[in-house]
């Protein structure tokens, strides 16, 4: 059955494929970073149309926001253009094709999208679905309830770990305030 959601999904997936091919083929790395931003916006829209707003939220924040800035920081330290490889090399092409075929083969016995008998709907007891409305005072999305509230302490621990790691990295890589360095800089400017 073809309805408007199918059409939107097909259009978004087509644009995703076109963007991915462009990212792989383009040699201007600045433009490639831009296309990864487009890719992550598109995949987040697709996740949204699959009714997974949490994943779409993360993808938009990390993929389109942080990753773009990190890529650009890397680009500022390296070059703007990728080295050109004119020869067609068959071995990597073969490896990529076989890996892709194996991945597609792996999806064949996955349950159909929205199948109520899928293991993912059976295993974490269905009482989450029954009780989360009452527990969370009417929050409609069960996934959000599990991630943000039932697993709240878990998420807080993860955040503490990441914050500690980030603080340690900043403390190690911090640039010391060196008076000699400043004097050198002013001398260079004067010269």
């Amino acid at each position: 059955m073809i309805n408007e959601f199918t059409m939107i999904d097909v259009a978004i997936l087509t644009l995703l494929a076109a963007t991915a091919v462009t990212v792989a083929r383009i040699r201007d790395l600045w433009a490639a970073i831009m296309f990864t931003g487009i890719y992550s916006f598109l995949s987040a829209s697709w996740m949204l149309s699959l009714d997974a707003p949490d994943v779409a939220f993360t993808e938009a924040a990390v993929g389109a926001g942080i990753a773009t800035v990190l890529f650009l920081c890397t680009l500022a330290l390296t070059g703007k253009n990728e080295k050109r490889f004119p020869r067609f090399s068959p071995v990597p092409f073969l490896v990529v094709t076989i890996t892709g075929a194996v991945l597609v083969y792996g999806t064949l016995d996955m349950p159909h999208f929205g199948d109520p008998d899928a293991p993912v709907h059976q295993y974490p007891s269905p009482s989450f679905v029954e009780r989360s409305q009452d527990d969370m005072h009417g929050l409609p999305n069960v996934v959000t309830a599990v991630l943000a509230s039932y697993r709240g302490y878990d998420t807080m621990g993860e955040t503490a770990v990441i914050f500690t790691a980030g603080t340690a990295v900043i403390l190690i890589l911090r640039k010391e305030e060196d008076p000699d360095d400043k004097a050198d800089g002013s001398e260079e400017e004067a010269a």
Binding site: E4, F5, M7, I8, A11, I12, L15, A18, T19, T22, W30, A31, I33, M34, F35, G37, I38, F41, L42, A44, S45, L48, S49, D51, P53, A56, F57, A60, A61, A64, G65, T68, V69, L72, C73, L75, A76, P140, N141, E188
Partner: protein
């Protein structure tokens, strides 16, 4: 303002009568298709774009169209919680754009290292 008020009420009633009807669905579906066509055109411009600024404009337009598409899908599904996501997307689009343009202008992010 006094004369406009009855018209506003009538318009609100008309919108409420349309809500969730077949016509609204079709309107939203056609709008979504138009937005997707615009996204395709922006993507083509970003791929062809000879200068940096063609690409920046195309990317910015692409992000705006993503926000619009989310809003349309929101009305199509009759869920109001996607509109917050549309806000997040426009913020992300802005941050990415500022970062890209700053890099294009200065070639680096460490402002004190530029000589």
């Amino acid at each position: 303002m006094v004369e406009a008020a009855p018209m506003l009420v009538a318009a609100a009633e008309a919108v409420a009568a349309l809500g969730g009807s077949r016509q609204t669905e079709w309107m939203c579906a056609v709008t979504a298709m138009a937005i997707l066509v615009t996204m395709t055109l922006a993507l083509v411009r970003a791929m062809l774009g000879p200068t940096v600024f063609d690409r920046v404009l195309a990317l910015n337009m692409f992000g705006t169209k993503t926000v619009l598409l989310i809003c349309v899908v929101d009305f199509l599904l009759n869920r109001n919680d996607f509109l917050d996501l549309a806000l997040l997307y426009s913020l992300m689009n802005f941050i990415g754009m500022v970062a890209l343009l700053r890099f294009t202008e200065y070639g680096s992010f460490g402002g004190d290292r530029i000589r």
